[in-house]
Structure formats: C-alpha cells, structure tokens
Amino acid sequence: MSESAVTKGARKRLTWLGVLIVALVAIIGLGAATNSGASFAPKLALDLQGGTQIILAPAVQAGTKVTEEQLSQAVAIIRQRVDASGVSEAQINTQGNNNIVVSIPGAPDENTLKLIRSSAKLEFRPVLATSQGTSASASTAGTDSASTASPSASSKATPKASASASATPAIPGVDAATQKFYDELDCSKPFRSAGQVDDPKLPIATCDTTGFSKFILGPVEVEGTDIADANAGTVTTSTGASTNTWAVNLKFTAAGSDKFAATTGRLFPLTAPQNQFAITLDGYVITAPTLQAVITGGSAQITGNFDKLSSKSLADQLKYGSLPIAFEVQSQENISATLGSEQLTSGLLAGAIGLLLVIIYSFIQYRGLAIVTVGSLVVAAIITYLMIALLSWRQGYHLSLSGVAGLIVAIGITADSFIVYFERVRDELRDGRPLGAAVETGWKRAIRTILVSDGVSLLAAVVLYALTVGNVRGFAYTLGLTTLIDLAVVMLFTHPMLELLAKTSFFSSGHPWSGFDSKALGATSYVGRGAFRVSAAVPTVKAAKSSKEANTRQTLAERKAAENIAAASKSEKSN
C-alpha cells in the first residue's frame, strides 16, 4: 500500500463520518422545521420529566367481580401493546383490587388511549340481515363503511337486503327478542352497556362503527384468538401499486385458517346479504365485506375507517390478544417526575466528572494519543446525542435515568475499543515495526477483537429487545445503540485519525510525548535516535514466534518479502 493510498483512504472515511453527522443534523433540522415533532432536545422518560397517569377501571356489569388473574393478564397485555408503540418505558401496575394504573411520558392522544383501554375482542360472524342504521338517514344509499372484497357489490346488495329483511321478519335461528331489538335499533343512540359480553353461540343485533347500518349477525365462526399475527399496511391493488387506504392484515393460526376457510366456503354460494360476513370489534361491526371467493390461504385483510395510526393500534391490539375485560378511563392526570431534576443534574455532573477523569487518565497513559481518545469520545457523544434526538422523534424513545447511566457506562466500553487498538499498535512497535506499518498491522488484529466483542454486546441487545418488555427493553435499546456507535466511531474516526497522525513527524519520530515512544516501548530494533532499520524492520525470528497466525494469513507477495528478509538477515549473521 502506498503512502498516499493510506492517506486517501483515511480522508475518505473521515468524510463519510462527516456526511453521517451532517445527515443526522439535516434530518432532525428538517423534521423540526416542518413541525413533524422532531427536536434537538431528546424526550425524557417518566422518571425525569413526568407524564400522564391514566387510571383504568374495569367496565363490567354490576355484580360481576374482576378476578386477580384477569387483572394481571390485562396488565401483561396492556404492557405489550404499549411497548409495541415505541420505547417509552411506560409503567403499568394494578391499584386496589380493580384498577390498573398506566403511566406514560408525555400526553397521550386518542389512539394511545384506545390502544390501552379497549378490550379488542374480535369476532367473525356471518351476516343474517342488514339495513340502514337510523330511520333519519334512510335516504343515504351508502350503507357500508368498508368492504374489502368488493365495495360496489356490497353497497348494491345491502339496500336490497334491508328490504327483504324487513319483509321477512322470521330468520331461522334468530329468536324474537333479538329480532325485536334489531327492528327497534337506532344506531345514533348508544345501545350497548359497558362491558357487555355477547354469547358467542347466539346471534346478535348491532350497528357498524359509523352508525350507517345495523345488522343481525349469526353465532361466532372465527375468533380473535385464532389470529396468529396482525400488522398494519396500505392496500395494494392487483397490479401491485400501493393505494392510500390503510388496512389491518391478519394471519390466522392453522386452526383459524381451517375455520375461516369453512366459513367462507359455506357463505360464498348464499345470496346477499347472507354472503357477507361481519368482523366485529368489541361488539361493533368494523367491516362486513361480501365474499367474492372462498378464502383458504389463512390470511385476511380488514379495511375500514382506518388511518395510519388507528390501523397500527388495532393491529397491535389484535397481535397481543384481547383483554379479558374492557376498561374505561376513570381519571387522566398529569404527574410530575418521580426523581426530580436534581437527579438528572447530578447524573450529568457525575458523567462530566467521570469523563474528565477518563481524559486525565488517557493523557497519563497515552500522552499525545489521548487527543485521539478524547476526539473519538467527543465524536461518539455527538452521534449518540443526535441519534437519541432522532429516535425520540421516530421511535418514541424516552431517555430515563437508567438510560443516562447506561450511556455513562458506554464511555468505558467505547474507550476500550481505542485501548485495545492502541495496545495492539504498541505491541507492533515493540516488535520493531515503524509506526505506519504498526498502525496498519495493529489495526488488522484489533478490529477482529473489536468486532467479535461488540458482536457479543449487540447480540445481547437484539435478544433482550426482542424477547423482553418494559425497562429491560429500554436498556437493550440503549446498549444496541451505543455498541453500533462505538463501531462506527472506531472505524470512521479513531483508525483514520491514527493513520493520519502516524504521518506527522511528532508521532512517527516517536517523540516521548507521543505515546509511541519506541525507546520507552523497548522496541527491539531501535538503533539510534529517530533512526530505524528500514529493510529488516521486523526481526524475523521474533515475529515468527509472536505472530504465527499473521504469517499464515499473509499474501503470497508478503510471504516472499518475509522470506527475502529472513534470507538477508541469515546471510548478515553468517557474515
């Protein structure tokens, strides 16, 4: 490798680092300027900034008792739902015998509240009859708020169906009480009591969520528990183009797929409206599509009055299961930080003192090299700060005091990468290599160690993030973030800086204050002030002993060169 190639490579990597930092600043700046919620100040978690405390009371009919098991099950499900919406480290616990307290940083919007409290009991029922939801809106033709399979077919079919339904009141399997309830049902008025639970084996009369249509629905055919996975996305057309319509995609379990195929197979040949099935959420119809085919693939898509946020919140609710009981918000109040600002201030002060001590220690240990250490830590700090600001905007990340402590510890782990690297370079100098070569060889060995040890940390972060909930998840997130930043900084800053510094005479001459004083390092081939044997820079016997592995990894050209040197030194000795 020629001298200029090294310099060029180093400059290139430093440029990339600059680009990375500028890009981060630009993204956040743009987000802040366009009012999309970005800010250069990271959001703080509950313990440091306070937030909102929501007390949920179970919405059950009078006389019904909520069991302890139901309550703890509900807490677990709510925790997963809240976690799915970001890394905010919410606190969820029970209060008394009945209530659940959810504390989240910041102020919750309607979607968050819905995510937390709605029981999300999803059911698939066949449509037996349907008509317009209110007598007042009789002239409205569009009855269906949503229909996946065929919007045109169902909106055409529904008015006909309503006519036939009112003409023939007796529907097989529907008792008179349900029929009467249906006939008198007015969707513009509330008609379901709090926490009402429908018998899955009996037909029900209900409205859709918009109040346009009312339905008589048959017994439950497929349940929310038959869903294996749910996610939100936009609907794609048959040609693969993406539309602006948001939908929730469902994947059924094996048993669920069979049930769903059986249902669609039975309903498909029927006449309207009985070839429709309704998907109900907490007793309300969210969509009642007309079947256009028998669905056997084990997946389905729900469209409705969804936007990006509401489809995501429904998908999260379905994914983590329905709550055993529905809850209503009893109170919603602001709460102050539990720790108070003095904890954060002291934490930051402690961090600053710690950093100062690290810098002093680096100067004692590494002299001039400490510039690189300090520079790297500063760069790492800048990137970490920007990433946290970016992630609190995009991922709902909130920095807690444990998070701050995690970042302070990361100083040590980040600095270790430099220490491993510097010690390797010193080892190479001790073997008598000139600084430029020592930096390159030392780097090749150090980066292996750095990669595998950071790999272990990253593994911890990924596994814990994927498998845990609550605070542990927040911790895993911080760990993964700092590990990646450590890798970026050591590759894009520390190494190129050292390459460039190795070219300066201060470092390459092994100035006593450079940290690479070969005399102090006991370099074996040191022959005089500032002078090194160039050709036989590495005493071959020793090199062969201490770096057997490096030899086997040498290129052919390198091996030849080494043999030549060995031959030369042998002949020198024999002379």
């Binding site: 402690a350 710690g354 240990q365 402590a405 040590g412 600095a415 911890a460 542990v472």
Partner: protein, 323 residues
C-alpha cells in the same frame, strides 16, 4: 515514559510475568469462598430486599394541597417509618402521590394521618390504597427468558468464532461467578433491589462477557498451532496472553470504573438513595469483578479444559524434554 509502560514491555516480552494459570488452585479457592459468601450472607440477612416496583406497596393520595413540596411528604413518612424510602409524585395541580413499601393497616393509618397533618388538610383528603408491582411477574419472566436465550446464543457465537466449545463454557462459568457475586454484595448490604439495580446487573452481564471475549481473542491467537512449538506449552501461551493483555485489562477497567465511581460518589454523598446509586453500585462491583474473573477464572479454567487434550500433552512432554 512511566513505569507502567515499562511493565507493559516486560509483560509483552515475558520478561516479567504473573502466574495466572499456574496458581489457579488459589484463584479457584478464592472464587469458591466468594461465591459461598455471596449466597450465604444474603440468606443470613433474611433474603433480598425487593423494592415496591417488584412487590407492590401502599399508595397515599393527598388531595387539595396548597403546596406541592415533595420533601414535606418524605418527612411525614419518615416520622412514622424512619427507614422508608417513599416515592413522591405530584399529580395534577393540587395532589400528591406517595408510594411506600407495603405497610400494615396500623402503620398505613399513621402515615395517612401524618400526611394530612403535614399538608394541613383534613385526613379525609388522604386516600390510601394498595398498588401492585409495575415490574410484574410478566416482566421478570420475559427478562429471565431473554437472558437464557442470550447466554445460549452468545455461547454458540463464541464457539463458532473461537472454534471450541470450551471457551464458551469457560466464559459462561466466569459470567455466572460475576453475577452471583454482584447479586451477593447487593443482598449482603441489604440494598433495595430496584429496576435500576436490575438494569445495572444486565449491563454487567454484557460487560463481563465482552471483557472475556477480548482476552480470549488474544489467547486464541497465542495458542494457534502451539502443539507444533518446540519451546512453549499451551499453558505458558495462555498465561502469556493474559499478561500481554494485562495492561489493556487494567486500562479498560479503570476507564470504565472512573465514570461509574463518580456517579456512585456523587449519588451517595449528595443524593442519598436513588436510581443513580442503585445502578452505579451494581456497575461498580460488576466491572471490577468482571475484569478480575476474566483473568483469574475464565482463562485458567479454559487452560485447564484444554491442556489435558492429547495433542497438547504430547507437545508439552516434548517441550519438557527439550528444556
């Protein structure tokens, strides 16, 4: 340059060497004593002292207060239970929420009265209730599950990278040693186990394994094809590797411990108990024990696991014969 770098030179060339591998019986005995103490002392003290985040506790709600000063509540609780560590939060604009560990009905009533008096409100304005753990069994269950999966995967990753299961085994043994001792110190001192302490504990898990991997990477390099060597044995090469990375081990642990020590110092002197002290204590002990165990436990165990292998034993006999 400093004497420390001279030490580094001597350690590198082998001119000076600490016998980590050879005196392993001593290190093992020390470890065994420490582990036994770490298990026995907390039991003698009456088990771990889990915080309200784990066990739930009592909650008091003072409504209609004119001052939302949190210190008033802390003092009021201390007047009834001097050792309590209450968590005080302002709720809305005129309420105070005080959470303590689970109190008996009698004590709970006393605290209620004391709070009412302290905030100068009628005692009917203070409501008390029990709260459940917000670090519930579901969080713990998932965390333990995640930990086990991580340790398993990390062991597989190390086995693949180092091409030997024995390194994974040695690293995991050292990790268990670190975790038991860190937890033991917590239990022995009777510190409250809070979520912050658990997070500190998890950080140690990552750090301990990380530190071991760095040293093991040097061991792997030094013992490469050592069975063909005429003048050095497996055992000697492992010991040389530990010595050659000793300066790095010391430097890294000092650099890692300095910020933690400053949190611990500032947290303990100016703030008393709290999140910072909890997390810093776990880290402080963990980093020191983690570095120690790599040198004195993980590496000697690894050497012991492998030096008995036929190829290394044969090579060792040859080296002895040469000497």
């Amino acid at each position: 340059m400093s004497k420390f770098s001279e030490l580094g030179n001597d350690l590198y060339t082998g001119a000076r060497s600490f016998d980590f591998v050879g005196r392993r019986k001593l290190w093992y005995s020390v470890a065994a004593v420490m582990v036994i103490l770490a298990i026995v002392l907390p039991i003698l003290r009456g088990g771990y002292n889990f915080g309200i985040e784990f066990r739930g506790g009592s909650e008091f709600r003072v409504a209609g207060v004119s001052s939302q000063s949190q210190q008033v509540a802390v003092d009021a609780v201390h007047s009834v239970i001097p050792a309590a560590e209450p968590q005080v939060t302002n709720v809305g604009t005129d309420s105070i929420r005080v959470q303590t560990s689970q109190l008996t009905d009698l004590k709970s009533e006393d605290v209620r009265v004391a709070l009412a008096k302290a905030y100068n409100v009628p005692s009917s304005a203070v409501a008390s209730s029990f709260i459940g753990a917000n670090w519930g069994a579901d969080v713990t269950g998932k965390a333990v599950n995640g930990l086990l999966v991580f340790i398993l995967l990390a062991a597989v990753l190390m086995a693949l990278y180092f091409r030997t299961v024995k390194m994974s085994l040695a690293a995991v043994l050292a990790l268990v040693h670190d975790l038991v001792i860190t937890a033991g110190v917590y239990g022995a001192l009777g510190f409250e186990v809070t979520p912050a302490a658990v997070i500190g504990f998890l950080t140690i898990l990552g750090y301990s394994l990380y530190d071991t991997v760095v040293v093991f990477d040097k061991i792997r390099e030094n013992t490469f094809e050592v069975e063909f060597s005429q003048n050095t044995t497996f055992k000697q090469q492992v010991n040389l590797a530990i010595n050659q990375t000793l300066v790095r081990s010391i430097n890294t642990s000092i650099v890692a411990v300095l910020p933690v020590a400053s949190i611990l110092f500032i947290g303990a002197t100016f703030l008393g108990a709290g999140t910072l002290r909890d997390i810093a204590l776990a880290l402080f002990i963990g980093i020191i024990v983690g570095t120690y165990s790599t040198l004195f436990i993980a590496a000697p165990i690894y050497s012991q696991f492998r030096e008995g292998e036929a190829k290394y034993r044969k090579a060792e006999q040859k080296v002895m014969a040469n000497a």
